[in-house]
């Protein structure tokens, strides 16, 4: 589904991704962990097509196509979804109107028939209840005045609406209390299927109790430096990152 080979990216002369390799197959759930500033959000942004980053090397293929050649909107239409670490507030743009417009463009691209107003509202109702998002929030301006938890749930709600094949969740668990965490995780789990894959970026092992990953990776200094199964997350929780950093430094000598 997703193949990343030797990806290198920088921003303002600063190397952030330095030869990253990573592969996701259909139906898999991958967790990416790593210290602050290691490049996790950069990876997510580069995959989603943010133009601030300069790609200096490597390749990314998504469902067999060259992802880096595609515009951000075409990536989304192809089925890539990024739940932002910091969802953007857009005053004056209603959540619903925006989603309606976005979904209509996405469906057109995918060759699906347009939804009637009634079908659309039914879908909104179904998907917002999935993350127990208050119906009122759907009608407000995009993320404006939303609490941190509401913003994250709104991201998962939008993901459910857009029905992606690969969802990247960038710290969707950060700032959530345990109930909200459970809700978000249930929403994600309800969407798991043999065709749909997830990349879950997190700092906290507790999320992975709810969304159980097939693989866990450590991203450090712009590379995946360690990969394992869910036990690796437990080990990181206990031991922190220092031992990994040491391993990396030792390997470089």
């Amino acid at each position: 589904m997703l193949q990343i080979k030797n990806l290198q990216a920088r921003i303002e002369e600063k190397e952030i991704l330095r030869g990253l390799n990573f592969e996701v197959k259909p139906g898999e759930v991958h967790a990416i962990m790593g210290p602050n500033g290691s490049g996790k959000s950069t990876l997510a942004s580069v995959l989603a097509g943010k133009e601030d980053y300069e790609i200096t090397g490597g390749e990314v293929s998504f469902k067999g196509k060259d992802l880096l050649e595609m515009s951000p909107e075409d990536r989304a239409r192809e089925g890539l979804f990024l739940a932002f670490q910091y969802p953007v507030e857009i005053p004056g743009v209603s959540n619903i109107n925006f989603l309606k417009a976005a979904l209509s463009e996405v469906r057109e691209y995918r060759g699906l028939p347009q939804l009637t107003a009634k079908e659309f509202l039914a879908l909104v109702k179904e998907k917002s209840s999935l993350v127990e998002l208050d119906g009122q929030l759907a009608n407000r301006s995009v993320n404006e005045g939303f609490s941190g938890g509401e913003k994250k749930r709104n991201e998962v709600f939008q993901m459910a609406m857009l029905d992606p094949t690969l969802a990247i969740l960038d710290e969707t668990d950060s700032g959530l209390d345990i109930d909200a965490l459970r809700i978000v995780a249930n929403g994600v789990n309800a969407m798991r299927s043999p065709e749909r894959s997830f990349v879950v970026i997190t700092h906290y092992q507790r999320l992975l109790d709810f969304i159980v990953p097939d693989y866990v990776h450590v991203l450090y200094k712009g590379r995946i430096v360690k990969s394992g199964t869910k036990e690796l997350a437990l080990e990181l929780e206990e031991r922190g990152y220092d031992w990994i950093k040491e391993e990396v430094e030792a390997a470089q000598l």
Partner: protein
Amino acid sequence: MSTTTAIAPKEKFLQLVEESKKQFGLADEQREAALEFLNQFEIPTTRDEEWKYTRTTKLSNEAWKWSNDHSVETIVPYRIPKLNALELVFVNGKFSQELSSNVLLDGLTFMEGATLVSNEANQNDPANFFEAFQRATTTGAIYLGTSSKVAIDKHFHIIHLITDQNAVSTPLIVLNVQANSKLSVTESFCGNTNGLTIRRLSANVATNARLEYNKIQNEGDEHYLINIDEVAIDRDGYSNLNTLTVAGGWVRNDLRIALNGENIEANLSGFYLPRNKQHIDNHTKVDHKLPHCVSNELYKGILFDSSTGVFNGKVYVWKDAQKTNAYQNNANIIAGDNAVMNTKPELEIYADDVKCSHGTTTGQLDEQAMFYLRARGMSPDSARKLLTTAFINDVLNKVDEEVVREYVIQLLVEKELLTI
């Protein structure tokens, strides 16, 4: 053989005044009074503080003429759908009886004709050359006056059509909203030729009266438009004035509101969405003279391509105007690589117990928001429209009449500026 010498622009305008004598209905003494001012004034240049960012050179060098062309077959394309309105139509600055509705309403006085109507206008001095020129010529004029205690529920739609190349129009509109009455007007400017329109509005809003006024400026790249709006409001009065500039080659709006009593609410809002090399200038002046009044000013602009914009907002709060609430906001998005906005709030406050605020912002379209919308599958074009729509939405919401608002939105959609 005849030799031609270049005639100074001012002379050309004076010649137009001379030619107007034979054509339009001003009384000689009215024209003479205005001519006295006209002779004293010069055509404003960027050396004049009030015209610092608005060039008049091109306008002054055009070969303007009076036009008697009246070849308008139908006004249907300019009609506001679903609006229950009486239509008052000007063609090349002259009032057209044939194209206009019959104004026969209980509680409403309608007059037409430059001499008659000019006498009803505010008798203050013209502020500059163009204003004096408008008064000295006045191609056509209408008067709408309500009787006191009558809320006119019909809307009035004033339509300005320009059919002729190089045509100048200098119409006058006088409104007299008597005590405890109400009047709602929308005015459309539809000049699509290389024309010049200088239109004066003189409005009186009496005690506890209410005026709702929308100007829809939707003109072509070649057209020059000057609007002079003078609104005087008495005690407990209310006005809501919206200046909606959908398009216009060169537009100068001077809006002056005098709050002459206590407990007045004056709202003035506007948006401007210039494209290409269009130039839109909004000069506003709000005069708080007595206590307990509120003024709300909100102007927003999105400047595309190489367009330019000017906002100058003067607010005076005089010594006696305690407990004044005066708010002013001007926000701009620079959407074109070569677009420029000049904005300047000017607040002068001589009373001490007042709440006044002003803010101006000029920025780019929010790139973070753009990326967010695109990352959800929206094309850059529809994402941009969604954001610009959101940006001017609060100005659109100031329009009282829902069908007028819908009509403006439709115009913006047709121009591919908005999405709904």
